[in-house]
Amino acid sequence: MRDRSFAPSRILIYLVVALFAAAYLAPLVVVVLNSLRTNEEIAQGSMIGWPQHLAWSNYAKAWSGFCVAETCAGIRPYMLNSALVTIPATIFSTLLGAVAGYAVSLWRFRGDSWIYGIVTLGLFLPQQMRLLPWTIVLRDTGLINTLTGLVLIHTIQGLSFTTLFCRNYYVAIPHELIRAARIDGAGFFRIFWRIILPLSAPILIVTVIWQFTHIWNEFLYGVTFTTGQQQPVTAALIALSAAIADIPQHGVQSAAVIIAALPTLLIYLLGGRYFVRGLTAGAVK
């Protein structure tokens, strides 16, 4: 129970927690260690081991050295591409989802629950099913091979999650607040902007974290709908890992994995506390 006093059982608790923490950290530790070992060193022994001398060069190579075909600029340009897709798509899908969730929860209109139900079903529609239809859509909108196209895809697909979570969060906001504002003469947008949005930090943090990591980590659309220099960072990672015509580059690959994961890891570490809070507000309704 929530009791500080009983010592032996608390030692056991700390022990178990420590074990779990170690298990959860292990993969990260392995990758970090490998990112500091040379390929030869890894090939000698196993994937798990201490670096004999710190091979910082892996990072240099991962960041700006290794080649994807004729481009030898490392992971750097791909990171930028990913950012160019992820940041706007995260912002758009979050904002639109917030507006939609706000409309659905606080301004009920005819047919809202149907639309809302369908939109949330989108959480469950398998990705593979959408690849070809998106191809056709992007063709018809002329957005194929543009980052804009990817932003569009991620914005629309992201709406399912953002709408669901924002709506679940907003239903707990007292309706009287909206009523008061309407009497004050505020319209739909002013209410959203001045009253709802300032209350939304916890849920916006959740949707931003969620959208950001999902879009950042996405691969299939990223390689299919971009060309050459626009590819996302996941493509560069795959180029490193799926190299069939090469000796495994585990050291560089590890360094690249870490660099590529930094933005999402950071966003989780910084927002993690709010994430848990907002997640509950948004998920359990």
Partner: protein, 369 residues
């Protein structure tokens, strides 16, 4: 000209009829209190008046203008909510000026209006705070400020005090009343606390199941409740209501409780004009607990009717003693002076204020006299 007139107003949600043909005419400057048990439709009515909800039927006029199709902000009303509904992310100042900002009132005028209201409500020191930094009473005041600053034709209050603790509630009650007297505004005030209703209203509308049961000044509602519902709803402890019979002797009508029993109680009626036609029939006899008191009590100078009754239980509250007694076999409550503590089980003598007895038709439950 009526400040507000509501005609044959109905409201249905799906197959639930929440308001059934409401008619109300409210004069300018009146303090109308809507009371009724939870779910009777008070908030719905208020929301429709405010324009936050649409009536299914009927018309609403504010200041002589039909407003059915006018959006809330153009109805010249202000509303105070039970939860205060202060904008949590704005300071008190912004909460109060937000409406003016929406209506594009010039900054200087905003400032002036704000200063006026803040002075009136004595919330000047709070202007920079966020609602979360205010106590319940302060929040209440800010909510009021937001309404006052509009200077509207009509104020709508939806249970503005029900979130306050008892002490603060009494204070704020007086404050609102004083405010009403000072600015002479027209107010519609929803509550389900009948003490609030009695003490604040110029007229009370008692609602039940979507119907206005009675719309009259507080004294009328208290002394001549239109029906059993109103009789039992207003007053705490509520009016004692006992089955009885109406008889008549040479001196006039007599209400008999527990007729035929050895301990039957006969209550001579005075000035109950409508009673005549009920002689010989069953009635419901209503008598308020404060009309049953210790034997020495004098009711408005008249010699009281004295009755002996067995005491079942007493509850001394300090300021008075509540006595549970039996009248003609029926249970009734009496409110007597705190000094006197009749022993449970014994019989004591009580003074009755028979002039204030109410009679109801047991079928229609309506007031006879």
């Amino acid at each position: 000209m009526a400040a507000l007139s509501i005609r044959t107003l109905s409201k249905r949600y799906a197959n639930l009829e929440v308001l059934k043909g409401i008619n109300l005419e409210i004069e300018s400057g009146e303090f109308t209190v809507l009371v009724g048990p939870s779910g009777c439709g008070k908030s719905t009515l208020l929301n429709i008046v405010a324009g936050l909800d649409r009536p299914s039927d009927g018309t609403i006029e504010i200041g002589g203008r039909v407003v059915n199709d006018v959006p809330p902000k153009d109805r010249d009303i202000a509303m105070v909510f039970q939860s205060y509904a202060l904008y949590p992310s704005m300071t008190v100042r912004q909460n109060i000026t937000f409406g003016m900002e929406c209506r594009h009132v010039p900054k200087t005028e905003q400032e002036k209006a704000l200063a006026n209201v803040a002075r009136l409500l004595q919330i000047e020191p709070l202007l920079g705070r966020k609602p979360s930094q205010l106590s319940g009473g302060q929040r209440q005041r800010v909510a009021m400020g937001r309404a006052l600053v509009r200077d509207p034709l009509l104020f709508l209050f939806d249970e503005p005090l029900s979130n306050l603790d008892a002490k603060l509630r009494v204070e704020m009650r007086m404050e609102i009343k004083r405010l009403h007297q000072r600015i002479g505004a027209t107010i519609i005030y929803v509550t389900h606390d009948q003490i609030e209703a009695m003490t604040m209203a110029t007229r009370i509308a008692v609602m039940h199941r979507g119907v206005v049961q009675q719309f009259a000044d507080p004294d009328t509602v208290y002394r001549y409740p239109a029906n059993l519902f109103v009789a039992r709803f207003m007053g705490s402890p509520p009016m004692n209501t006992m089955p009885g019979r109406l008889e008549a002797d040479s001196d006039g009508p007599v209400a008999v409780v527990g007729a035929g029993r050895p301990d039957e109680v006969r209550l001579r009626l005075h000035g109950h004009d409508g009673a005549a036609s009920y002689v010989g029939r069953d009635v419901v006899v209503g008598i308020r607990p404060e009309c049953i008191a210790e034997a020495s009590r004098v009711f408005s100078g008249e010699a009281p009717v004295l009755v002996d009754a067995p005491v079942e239980m007493i509850e001394p509250t300090g300021a008075e003693t509540i006595v549970l007694l039996r009248l003609g076999g029926e249970t009734a409550l009496a409110r007597i002076t705190p000094d006197i503590r009749p022993a449970p089980g014994a019989t004591a003598t009580f003074a009755l204020d028979t002039r204030r007895i109410c009679l109801f038709d047991p079928e229609t439950e309506r007031l006879i006299a």
